[in-house]
């Protein structure tokens, strides 16, 4: 199974997670079945509008089961939940720290958008 984490940089797992979702610079996809780590660029980062939705599409396409990030707006959240992707909220820590919390079930699953977005306009 795979999870995605928003990342502030793409060097290694000691970088901090990025608290933004739609305009995070990178996503890191972690596959727990084979411990593969894959950093991808977030093409939505510079979107003129609807970055959260476009980022959600990227995450959906990666076939992950969970997303760990800081804040998700309502439209992106709606897309993720329709795709059965669970969203976990985390504080500003390294990706390594966040992943160990995830494995220990210490992260809070988000049941509703953590902020109300800004209509993307």
């Amino acid at each position: 199974m795979k999870v995605a984490v928003t990342a502030s940089n793409n060097t290694d797992l000691n970088v901090k997670i990025d608290l933004k979702f739609g305009r995070a610079p990178y996503f890191v996809i972690i596959d727990f079945d084979n411990d593969k780590v894959n950093f991808i660029d977030n093409s939505a980062k510079g979107a003129t509008g609807g970055a959260g939705i476009q980022a959600a599409q990227t995450i959906v396409d990666q076939g992950v089961e969970g997303l760990i990030t800081g804040n998700v707006g309502p439209k992106a959240f709606n897309v993720l939940s329709k795709a059965n992707i669970k969203v976990y909220s985390a504080k500003e820590e390294t990706i390594k720290e966040v992943l160990s919390k995830y494995k220990n079930n210490d992260l809070k699953e988000v049941a509703a958008p953590t902020n109300n977005g800004h209509a993307g306009m």
Binding site: T48, A51, I53, Q57, N78
Partner: protein, 280 residues
């Protein structure tokens, strides 16, 4: 004759000028095009009744039987209004700008369009001696332009049309100016007022409309700031509304000041005469 009243910034007295001018003239049609915050009704007190006209725009719907999940529409949409979830395309209507593009891009003709309400138009055909129209943008809708364009359709050519424009200098304001024969720019004699007046002048000039300035909250010493700018730009000052607590207080309770200070009606009639001389 169509006169649009605008200001680069909110709160300078645009609605005060538009409503008091309208109340001073005859055979007026008033359009409140400040559709995000329509406030003119507070001063004119129309009775709209229950009826209103819907303003609609088109958004896509997908025939899931025809859709092959090829993703062309999702990749095409610049506004990120479409998402592919497995085999299904999800439409996020709030993001859609109604460009109609996805319909043409779809290779399977699986996309049709349906109407979505963006706003409402209300009217009172006879209130305070005028015909009063108001546009309202629905909460959550991003663009006021379709509502203002729908209001523009209501213009009666044989009346003096006064349009209360949205503040600022973006597309909605431009939509409210585009049909005007003349623009009244309302400002106040402060550095803020001057700064925002310059922005409004830039827009009006770009659209090639004749214009004049009304100074609100006018004070002898301070007015020079605006007067110097106006004379440099060759724009005339139509009138000045003094900075008086009485006027501010009447505004606060929703009373048009020409009702309590009827001598001002003549003043606004003179403004109108000046405008007619320019427009011809």
């Amino acid at each position: 004759m169509k006169i649009t009243v605008l200001s680069g910034k909110g709160g300078t007295g645009k609605t005060t000028v538009a409503t008091n001018l309208a109340l001073s003239l005859t055979n007026v049609q008033f359009l409140d095009a400040d559709v995000e915050e329509p406030n003119s009704y507070i001063f004119i007190r129309p009775d709209f009744g229950e009826e209103y006209q819907q303003v609609l725009r088109k958004v896509p719907i997908i025939d899931q039987n025809k859709c092959r999940a090829c993703r062309s529409c999702v990749d095409f949409c610049e506004y990120n209004a479409l998402v592919l979830l497995g085999e299904e395309v999800l439409i996020i209507k709030e993001m859609c700008h109604s460009c109609g593009g996805c319909k043409y891009i779809c290779p399977k003709e699986a996309i049709r369009e349906e109407d979505k309400e963006v706003g409402k138009i209300r009217v009172d055909k006879s209130v305070a001696g005028m015909e009063f129209w108001q546009g309202e943008l629905n909460i959550g809708e991003a663009s006021a332009v379709p509502v203002i364009e729908a209001l523009n359709q209501k213009v009666s050519e044989d009346k003096t049309v006064i349009i209360d424009a949205p503040p600022g200098t973006t597309c909605p304001t431009i939509a409210a100016i585009s049909d005007a024969n003349y623009c009244i720019l309302v400002t106040e004699p402060t550095p803020f007022g001057l700064h925002d007046l310059k922005m409004a002048v830039e827009v009006v000039k770009e659209l090639g409309k004749p214009c004049g300035i009304i100074i609100n909250r006018s004070e002898e010493d301070a007015d020079k700031l605006i007067e110097d700018y106006a004379s440099n730009e060759g724009i005339s000052i139509l009138t000045k509304i003094p900075f008086k607590r009485e006027i501010a207080s009447l505004y606060s309770q929703g009373t048009p000041f020409v009702e309590e200070m009827p001598e001002w009606k003549e003043n606004f009639q003179e403004v109108f005469t000046k405008i007619k001389q320019v427009v011809g």
